[in-house]
Every structure is written in C-alpha cells, then in structure tokens.
C-alpha cells in the first residue's frame, strides 16, 4: 500500500526491517533525516539495535566495520564531506571484504561549500571497491536498501546505496513499505564466513607482501565483476516478493527503435521520463537508459542497451576537473567494443543542486543536432558571461 512518506523516513523504515544489529552515524546534511528517523525507531522500541552516535564519519565507518567483522549486520549513512572523511575506511572495508550497507545521500563536495545535490561524493570514491547502486526514486531507494544487505552478504562486498540528496531524501511521495514478513522471507539472518570468534580465532587486516598483493586485488576485482549476477538475481528475487523491480544493472525506458539514447544515473531519470511523456508526438523518439549499478560497471548490459543507437547522450551529476565526465568516459570505453557504437555526447548537469527542468530534454536534443562533434564534454547550463574571460 502506498504511503505518503519522506524519502529519508522510508529508507529508515527499510533499514529497520532488515534487522541491523549495529548502526553508527554522524550527522551531515542531507543524510540527517535518515539517522534521525532510525534513532526515533530505536527510541520508540521499534528497532532493537546498538545505535552508536559517533564523533565523526571516520569513526562511523570504522564502527560498522568493527561490528560487521565481529558478526553483526551493520549500517551507516553519510554524504559529501562525510564520504570524503570516510574514504580511507571505505577502501579498508572493501579490501577486507566485509558485508555492510551505507546510504550515500548524494551531495556536492566543498569547496565552494554546497549542501545541495550532485553526485561528486560517491563518484569520488568510485575506486574504493564498493558496489555502488544509484536510485531513481524513493521506492527504488527502499527496495535497493533491502536488496543491498542481501547482495552484500552474498558477495562479502560492501554496498553503497546512492540516493540524490534533497531531491529524494527530502521529498515526500507515495512509497510502498514492505512488510516485515516480506523482508524476512527475502533476507536471512546475518552470517559472515570470517566473523571474529574466540572459539576459532583468525587474524584479519594483516600485512601482505608483494608476493600476494596482486592476487588479493585480483580477487577483489573479480568479486565485484561477479557481483553483477547477484545484483540482477536479487532484484528479480525481491520482485517476486514485492512485485517491483528496481532495474537490475541497467534498464531502459522509451522507444526501443530510437536512434537517440540518453544514459542517466539517479533521480534525473524521473524528470526526463516526464519530459518524454510530455514531448510533442512529432519529436524524435528517445530511449532512456538508467544506469543503476555503477560499480560493478556493467559493460555488457550497457552495450546491449545501446544497440541500434546513432547518438548517445551521457548525462551525469559530477565531474573530474581537468578530465571531464566520469560516467561518460567509462561508457565511451564500454561501447568502443560494439560493432556500431553510437556517437557519444557527455554532459554534466545539476551541479550543487541546480534545478534540472523538463526543458532539459529539448535543449539536449537541440544541442546534439546543432553541435554534432562527438566525445565532447560540457557542463550544461553554465552562464559563461558571469565568469571572467580567462575562465570561459
């Protein structure tokens, strides 16, 4: 049944349904409502878990690492500067192959200071060795959170559930919260093969020489690549129980015979979908490609989604200054293996909370019609006349 819930409130309820043993968090906008709602669930006796209010994000990540290693299902949430502060621990968690779940309420990274939404934070820890799943709406955030625990525990890899800050976390909309029975049916009790136990002592996080390091890294990489199957399988399995799919690795919307594709990541999907619904009937058909799994990066699934396209717009919410797009470069590399790869156009939109209006669709289409130079990167919507000459 649909309930009118704020995204953060819904995610808090989803986390609670997964019966975590330990939660640790440090407040940061726009993640705060998630942990506030969880704290309330704990205070009201709805959730029986150890809630550790830590003194920094660095410790939040460390506490959940210690907890998961000691055999408890663990959860944390953060954003922006918090993700940056956690960065060292994030690498450590994944390198130790510890299953836990983190919600990233996506936000820009300072400086200049912006508390608003883009995806610079999670993109900046792209190489931390975590599974990264991006949510297009709050229903997906709920369903992906539940799936994330299962994926993490099946693959022994940490999962970062990325949801756009404010745009999702602070939006009240209709969300179906599954029942405890549904979640229990899907998510078994926490088990971890390497949980620390005095009856069977092991040492973890040890020093490793050049003789073994490459093999450890290969295993980690391979585990992430293999996780593609788990991500798809869990989405389907949860769909059998909940009746909803979240889009596996990659999903598409719109005309399958379209010659123009737009690949998006996160909540801008909804706005583009609305723009397509509203588009005049004589407008050229467009296929939307929603990238849900950024890590592992699903090369095959992306190529399949791009088949038949002449032009592919990659629309992203972060950038690598001095390089350009982050997702765009990876998609370009992925489609280079196709027999007839589409021409790629890479734009970053909505930085630091800039609104992405419905008119983005016609403007993008106009842009690639008028400027067919491929493989160019551009930050969309920059008002160049506000900048000094040398910065234009």
């Amino acid at each position: 049944m649909l309930q009118a819930l704020e995204g953060s409130q819904a995610v808090a309820q989803a986390v609670s349904l997964c019966r975590p043993g330990v939660i640790a968090a440090y407040p940061i906008t726009p993640q705060t409502h998630i942990v506030e709602n969880i704290s309330k669930l704990v205070a009201d006796g709805h959730l029986d878990c150890e809630f550790v209010s830590v003194e920094s994000e660095f410790s939040a990540a460390s506490v959940v690492l210690g907890a998961a290693m000691a055999g408890s299902r663990a959860y944390t949430a953060s954003a922006s500067q918090g993700i940056m502060l956690m960065a060292e621990v994030l690498f450590n968690i994944s390198g130790m192959r510890v299953p836990l779940v983190l919600t990233c309420a996506n936000r820009a990274v300072s400086s200049p200071l912006s508390i608003w939404n883009d995806q610079q934070d999670s993109m900046s820890v792209r190489d931390a060795g975590w599974i990264q799943l991006y949510c297009a709406d709050n229903q997906e955030a709920v369903d992906t959170t539940i799936q994330a625990f299962r994926i993490a525990e099946a693959t022994e890899l940490p999962v970062m559930v990325c949801m756009d800050g404010f745009t999702l976390t602070h939006t009240l909309e209709g969300i179906d919260i599954p029942t405890q029975e549904q979640v229990d049916q899907f998510l078994p009790e926490f088990t971890f093969s390497r949980a620390l136990d005095p009856r069977n002592p092991i040492s973890v996080g040890t020093l490793i020489s050049p003789d073994h390091y490459s093999e450890a890294r290969h295993s980690h990489h391979q585990a992430l690549m293999n996780a593609q199957d788990d991500i798809v399988a869990m989405d389907q399995e949860w769909a059998k129980i909940s009746g909803r799919e979240s889009g596996g690795l990659v999903s598409t919307y719109g005309d399958d015979n379209a010659k123009i594709g737009i690949l998006v990541i996160g909540s801008v999907f909804g706005t583009l979908k609305a723009a397509l619904v509203d588009a005049p009937p004589n407008e050229e058909p467009v296929k939307l490609i929603k990238l849900r799994s950024f890590r592992p990066f699903p090369i095959e699934a992306i190529c399949k989604a791009c088949e038949g396209l002449d032009n592919l717009i990659v629309l992203e919410r972060a950038l690598s200054p001095g390089g350009g797009g982050i997702v765009g470069i990876e998609v370009l590399s992925a489609i280079s293996g196709m027999e007839n790869p589409p021409t790629l156009h890479n734009f970053t939109v909505g930085l630091g909370g800039r609104d992405i209006p419905l008119e983005i669709l016609p403007r993008l289409l106009e842009k690639i019609r008028s400027n067919p130079t491929p493989n160019q990167f551009e930050i969309f919507d920059v008002e160049l006349d506000r900048l000094p000459e040398e910065d234009r």
């Binding site: 330990v22 920094s56 990540a61 002592p201 996080g205």
Partner: protein, 330 residues
Amino acid sequence: MNAEVNIPVADLRSKQPRFRGMESGHRACLGCGEALAARLVMESAGPDVMLANATGCLEIFTTPWPESAWRVPWMHSLFENTGAIASGMEAAMKAQGKATKVIAMGGDGGTFDIGFQALSGMLERGHNVMYVCYDNEAYMNTGIQRSSSTPHAAMTTTSPPGKARMGKRHLKKDIVSIVSAHHIPYAATTSVAYPSDIRKKVRRAMEIDGPTFLQIHCPCPLGWGHEGDKSIEVARLAVETGLFPMIELERGGLVGAVPIRHPKPVEDYLQKQQRFRHLFTEDVRAQQELEHIQAIANYNIEIYGLLGDGQDNFDNEGMDTVKRGGLRWG
C-alpha cells in the same frame, strides 16, 4: 596448602601452562619492549577476547601474511580508527548478547596523535573496551619520528639536535590525565619492567564493564639507542627516576601510585640511551636541558607522592614489591 602436592620449583612453570594469546616466532626486533608487554597483557587477558590493533610495529611484526602470532580473534584496520573499530566490535558483542571482552591496542602515535579522536569518542560513549597503549615515545614503525609522546629533548629523526635545537622542543603529552578526564572507571600507567604490575592492572581493567585505559612504557632499543638486552633496565630506570610514574586513576581521580622511595637522578636513565646523548656534551644548553628533565621528574615525584609516606618494609605496593613479583596474584 595441600602437603601431598610436591612439585619441584623448577617445574612450576611448565606445570602451569599459561594462556599465550600472542605466540613467539613473530618478527619483532630483539629486546622489543612492546612485544614483551603485549605478550604479558594477552596472558593476563585470557582467551575470551577480541582484538582491534592499530597500524604500527605490533601489527606489522605479528602478522606477515599468511602467518600470525595471534591466538585470539585479531583485527587490524587502520592507524587512526582503533578506538572506533573496538567500539563497533563491542556494540556487536552487545547486540549478540556475548560477553567476549574487546581489547584495543595501539602505539603512542596511534593513541596520542592520529587515533586520539577515535579514542576519545570510544571513552566518552562508555564502550566496554580495554584500550592498551604501548608507549615507546616515537613513531618507531616508520623509523623513529617524534610523536606527542616523545619526551622533552629526545632526539628522533624529526627532532634532531643541532646548532639551533636540542632535540624535541615540546613536552611529552600527559595522555593518561587526558584520558582520565573522560571520567572513565579506570586508567593506569605501567611499565614493561614490572610484569606483575602489568598483570595486576590488566586484570583490574578486564573486570570492569566500561572503558579502561592502560599506558605501558616500552623501550624500543632501535629508537632509544640502547642494546636489546638493556630494555628492562632502561624501562626500570624511567620509573625509578620519576620520569615515568606508575599510577592508577578512577573516574578522573588519582587512586594509587607505585612509590619509588629513593629516586635516582635522571642522568642515570638518560645516559643509557643514544637519543639523549646530545645532553651529555660541553654545550651549556645540554646542562640546561638536563635540569629541565630533572625538574619534570621532581614534579612527577611531588604531585604523585612517589616518595611514599611509610616504611619500605611494610609497603604492599612499593617498587621492591612489584620487582619481586609480590603482587602477581594480587
């Protein structure tokens, strides 16, 4: 005593096998104070424990993969998050309804400096963790750089003496007071030269359901510049001069200090270590620094009452007593 039991004294040790949480065969330097102290701590802590170990010598020399010296569950995460890792382990034990005691271990760098915030958080939140700091007074793992625990005037690779400097310019951070100011149930300092004192304090800390802290003074022969077979002697002199007082604090208040009765001059301690050799030159500043260091020792002696106030013979917690192992079962 049961008169029937007759075990030759020489066999006592082998007949009473002790639990060895940390095995021999690790790769510590000879004379390593930290390795010995860690072994003593683990013996007293027993098997039902779980360890969070900061980055540092102890972590490196005990776990060159695929080998490990640990016989208890042991985890190393990072340099600066040991207090938080231990907090998480403890929260998990609570969540699972288990009684396994969580122990955190770090060096002075990982405790006084980079891991200080995580430690403070752990103490403030009241986690049931025994935090053990092996204090060898510098970043030994990276090759002897000064930390906030390095004593005044000591030479390290980043506090070298020269024309303009006489070693470290600043004072050693009073970590146990800072830790104790969190009003935790128990905080204590001890030294690897006094195994009985270590055992006693570990047992005391292990019994407490709440955060406890032990600072163990451990010589590093390489970093301090003395032979490996002099570690215990040097460590003992640090205590006997008053430079490293062995004290106990409960809820922020001083409850005990091991009396030293007849303090030795600080030169006795300093002279045995290359890290202080620049203090034994003709340089007038050297004499001044020796006076400064003696003043530090005098201050410790005064504020902790290290001279004691009774007769040596009736002490139950004096230097001689702990040296003889008199408090082993205390």
